[in-house]
């Protein structure tokens, strides 16, 4: 039995046509199912667990990257097959998973090509796409073997599925990440100086693939993971291997 979790933004009129087309296609394939609309403060884990008890075998997330991260960061502990129907403009994860945006995603879903995905874990929470720590005075310890530090503040981004684009002055740099290679990738950018109008000038980033990392600081620092922010003094980031079973496309990047 299929259950579809629709994000709140899909209520907008501009998405009516595409949602209707997708629902028609799903009905034609014989994989239409129950539709549940997510609200801002909905607990996705509780909903998924309830539906599993009622006999759901596949839970399909309908939305964008934010919806994907919001649902899976909480529902990663649930033992069920997940699917994804990307709708809207902010959909970079779909590209990594090989799922086309729009109605064609229904074809991918019907093929049920299953893969178990690695996800990141920190402080009792999972993150699927990436974790971001804005410039702070942090020390990073990798795999209990070596420590990395800088003279001033450092920005840290840990990527799992979603690549990050560094916006430096004049040019946009994209670093290639390797999803599902058994390691998470950490990008560290120290601040070299504060330029005109207090604009931060960053140095060239360092790249460290790792399985386990501890980030600590003397003062609390902001941590943002899959859209959710928190303040911490010390966090442990680990890779959870093959945690989520997902329907993916043929054109996936791993």
């Amino acid at each position: 039995m299929y259950v579809y979790l629709y994000d709140n933004f899909l209520r907008e009129k501009k998405y009516d046509a595409i949602i209707k087309a997708m629902e028609t296609r799903l009905t034609d394939f014989g994989i239409a199912g129950k539709i549940i609309r997510l609200q801002n403060f909905t607990d996705a884990q509780a909903i998924v667990e309830d539906e599993i008890k009622r006999g759901a075998t596949t839970v399909v997330i309908v939305g964008d990257d934010e919806t994907f991260g919001h649902v899976l960061s909480r529902a990663a502990t649930c033992e069920v097959l997940f699917g994804f129907l990307p709708v809207g403009s902010d959909n970079s994860i779909a590209d990594v998973l090989g799922i086309p945006v729009g109605v064609e995603a229904c074809n991918t879903l019907s093929r049920r090509r299953k893969v178990k995905l690695d996800v990141g874990w920190f402080n009792n929470r999972y993150f699927v796409s990436r974790l971001h720590i804005p410039p702070s005075k942090i020390t990073v310890e990798y795999d209990e073997k070596f420590q990395v530090s800088a003279q001033d503040k450092m920005e840290l981004i840990v990527c799992n599925l979603r690549p990050y684009e560094w916006l430096s002055v004049g040019k946009k740099e994209t670093y290639t990440i390797h999803p599902q290679d058994g390691k998470l990738e950490a990008f560290l950018r120290p601040i070299s100086r504060e330029g005109w109008l207090r604009r931060q000038v960053f140095e060239e980033p360092s790249v460290f693939p790792f399985e386990e990392m501890i980030v600590s600081s003397k003062s609390p620092f902001v941590v943002e993971a899959d859209g959710k922010q928190s303040k911490e003094i010390k966090i442990k980031i680990k890779l959870a291997r093959k945690r989520i079973e997902m329907v993916v496309g043929k054109e996936r990047r791993f």
Binding site: R112, K145, H178, D181, P190, S206
Partner: protein
């Protein structure tokens, strides 16, 4: 009208992308302390203290400093290393390289301007050593005296 696809889930076994392909990069003002090891290529632009180990390529850029023993499959050094360097295959020192420590490698390439302070050990050398030569001299001397004895006897 619409193609029907089999409802049975298809398990796709994919070969994992080997983590050997991922480069580890130590940025210019970053300091690494401890046993720094990687299964893939390492590029050092900053400072590393402790030990550095990789089973692939190590690149030490100009301005980088390593205060550690280094072990790699291949290496290209343009910065400074204070420690022993053990490279399985090829070690290349560019004109800005400075190594203060022993070097152990199979192939060594040193550009003009590179500085080395230490012992260089390379396997595969086939020159005989002093003890072998003195043994050969003694044997040659013995053969000569035996010939002389035969001549006098005749």
């Amino acid at each position: 009208m619409f193609k029907t696809y089999p409802q049975q889930a298809v398990d796709v076994e994919r070969v994992r992308v080997v983590s050997d392909d991922v480069d580890t990069v130590v940025g210019p003002s970053v300091k690494v302390e401890g046993d720094f090891a990687s299964e893939g290529n390492i590029v050092v632009k900053g400072t590393v203290t402790g030990s550095v180990k990789t089973s692939k390529m190590l690149t030490v850029e100009n301005g980088a400093k390593i205060f550690a023993n280094v072990r790699a499959e291949n290496a290209v050094v343009s910065g400074a290393i204070k420690g022993n360097v053990k490279v399985v295959e090829r070690l290349e020192l560019t004109e800005t390289a400075q190594i203060s420590g022993d070097i152990d490698c199979k192939i060594l390439s040193v550009a003009p301007g590179a500085l080395i302070l230490g012992k260089v050990v390379m396997k595969g050398i086939s020159l005989p050593d002093d003890s072998e030569r003195s043994e050969k001299k003694k044997l040659f001397g013995k053969i000569k005296s035996e010939d002389a004895d035969e001549l006098t006897a005749e």
